[in-house]
Subunit: 381 residues, 2 copies
């Protein structure tokens, strides 16, 4: 049972529907588009206290609070950071979080029904990009009547969206927080994503994307593989080492002898229950394609030439998926554009997952950055 | 066409057959056992110039030379190191390399026929260990009439076998060379092996190990995943970066857009042609189980208490599969036992694969170490 005393409490999801859809980066029109979102806190009369929270690959719109009174229910994925008195303080801010386009938790994605056929899109869903996700969120912003975000913030793929917001709509936010993220992923990350997708597409149950039941084995394998990249070698050593599941000797059979094997299988099985295989394909591809320097001949500096608002960039020392060097490259590009940039590489053994686990240290960074903004904004009035 | 002028030339494989088999570490008897091996150079009259070369996971007995005059044939896997005038100098030494027990290139493995049933063992093959591989090689040693190896040398899993030789048969070699290896793999490596095996076993063509045709997709996925761990992030960046296969834009489809994707798929396809899926399961499990400190309460020092011969230990700076820290741990345990130990961490961007690629630097290390041994041995006469 979780202590809910410091939580925002019971929340509920909303949907907004855009019949005109959006023009995708690939040139295709996707219509209609529906976006699932949640809000926490109250929008000020001046509508100047709204913060957009961006979720990572396997996240959703449910960032904080609970849906029911069930004492066993787990809170939203960033409940440690969002709530009354927390870094994203719902006593001050109006927090918005939406499920990404291409997702499987309420927003339009490959599992949605194609109105032209009356059947799910599946693999006929157009390939989407991080920019498309942001464009869909911008429709939500208009729908909510917000002119300017106080902040756009996210970790991992959420950080990519935050960066993309700054580049595409530089006048529409007062600040950006980019945590454990990158302006473009490495060849190694592209390779891991490729192998994960191969595992899904090789599962006979995938059936070209037209499945009634999930391709469980393939999706679990993709998740287990990805999960290894979210942890650091050090955290796996500390958490599991070479410990056996039973205290006895090896089984000399192909069983889950090691604790780490049992843990991974558990992660795979849980993921299959809550995430759609086709969405996994589309979202990882959007991550691969994300490269803010792509249309600027690889020079990161040019990509940020129109950005004006301050940035907070946070990396974690043991993150080898989106390593600190990539954050530093991002910071150099921001500074080269004379952008007010706060950067911290937090010492942590948790690897990439640190953005969800280093609550105390990350919380202080976020609070400090947001407090400063809030005070400045108050003074400006 | 390869220049063969510095090669040992045409070689041929041999088989030796042990009808009595061997008692495995698990307690089972495996009989009969057949071992495929090759030799290069000439055994001296005193039989004191024999060096055992140990292959890695996907290697075989064909370490040097060619089978045919076909100018397109590739030489054995370590031809750069073994031959006349090379570090493992066939003018001086008698080189032996055998395919491991559990392998699929001539030695008894899961694909061999079980004499009790007249059918291939497949998954009824007993789970084998690195120690079992060494015990099978010891039979070969007896068969060849060699009392003491001048050296036992190997990289990666080959290094594990070399270490195991030293621990189990400390009086039967004059030296040990352990390259890019470890006394026990990490939780992270166990996890990668687990995911690779899951990919194979989830392939419907695997069929519980009873396949007529290889489970190609699963085995290719396992290989692609493993291949990522053999390269370093830096080498992948240098080799591929985010380069596209075609000079045009993204496909906005699930094609091989990135060069690294195309490369990986090629590696997967090639592997399926030459390696057996069940062997992959058994050999990776043997790697997982390898832990020389296992029966010594995790203390590595005790494991080497009976070792007397000098060691050469080599690691590579960018190897993240069996990182330098693991070699240093090994070196500390050797030094704590007052074992004459030469250690070098070679600066390289090639990752784990450096043991096959850093020919010049590694070659000099090997030559120096072996020369020293050879001269000492000559003086002692």
């Amino acid at each position: 049972m979780t202590d809910r005393s410091d939580s925002i409490g019971i929340v509920q999801p909303h949907d907004c529907f855009f019949s005109e859809g959006i023009r995708l980066h690939s040139g295709q029109i996707l219509a209609p588009v529906s976006i699932r979102y949640e809000t926490y806190g109250t929008l000020s009369e001046a509508k100047d206290n709204a913060i957009l929270i961006e979720h990572a690959l396997s996240g959703d719109a449910h960032a904080a609070g609970y849906y029911t009174e069930n004492p066993n229910e787990k809170p939203g994925w960033w409940d440690s950071m969002i709530g009354p008195g927390k870094p994203f303080d719902t006593n001050r801010y109006f927090i918005v979080c939406s499920n990404v386009l291409g997702g499987c938790s309420g927003s339009t994605g490959p599992g949605s029904v194609n109105p032209a056929t009356g059947k799910p899109y599946n693999m006929s869903f157009p390939v989407i990009t991080i920019e498309d996700m942001v464009d869909a969120q911008r429709k939500l912003k208009e729908h909510l009547g917000i002119q300017k975000w106080l902040c756009v913030a996210g970790g991992s793929m959420g950080g990519m969206q935050a960066i993309q917001w700054g580049i595409k709509y530089p006048d529409e936010m007062d600040s950006i927080i980019a945590i454990a993220t990158t302006a473009r992923i490495s060849a190694q990350s592209i390779a891991f994503n490729w192998v994960g997708r191969e595992a899904i597409m090789d599962d006979q149950d995938w059936n070209g994307g037209n499945y009634a039941e999930q391709p469980e084995h393939g999706l679990a394998t993709a998740r287990m593989l990805a999960h290894i990249t979210y942890l650091s070698e050090e955290s796996m050593r500390q958490k599991f080492g070479r410990r056996l599941q039973s205290s006895e000797d090896y089984s000399y059979a192909f069983k889950k002898d090691f604790s780490v094997e049992s843990y991974l299988e558990h992660q795979g099985s849980r993921f299959v229950e809550r995430f759609d295989a086709n969405s996994y394909l589309y979202i990882t591809r959007a991550i691969d394609y994300f490269d803010v320097a792509g249309r600027h001949d690889g020079e990161l500096k040019k990509a940020f030439s129109k950005v004006t608002c301050p940035f907070l960039v946070v990396s974690f020392s043991s993150d080898w998926l989106f390593p600190p060097a990539q954050s530093k490259e991002l910071v150099r590009a921001l500074l080269a554009n004379d952008i007010d940039t706060t950067y911290c590489n937090i010492e942590s053994s948790y690897g990439h997952d640190a953005f969800l686990l280093e609550e105390a240290t990350l919380g202080r960074m976020l609070s400090g950055f947001l407090d400063n903004l809030y005070v400045k904004k108050g003074e400006a009035k």
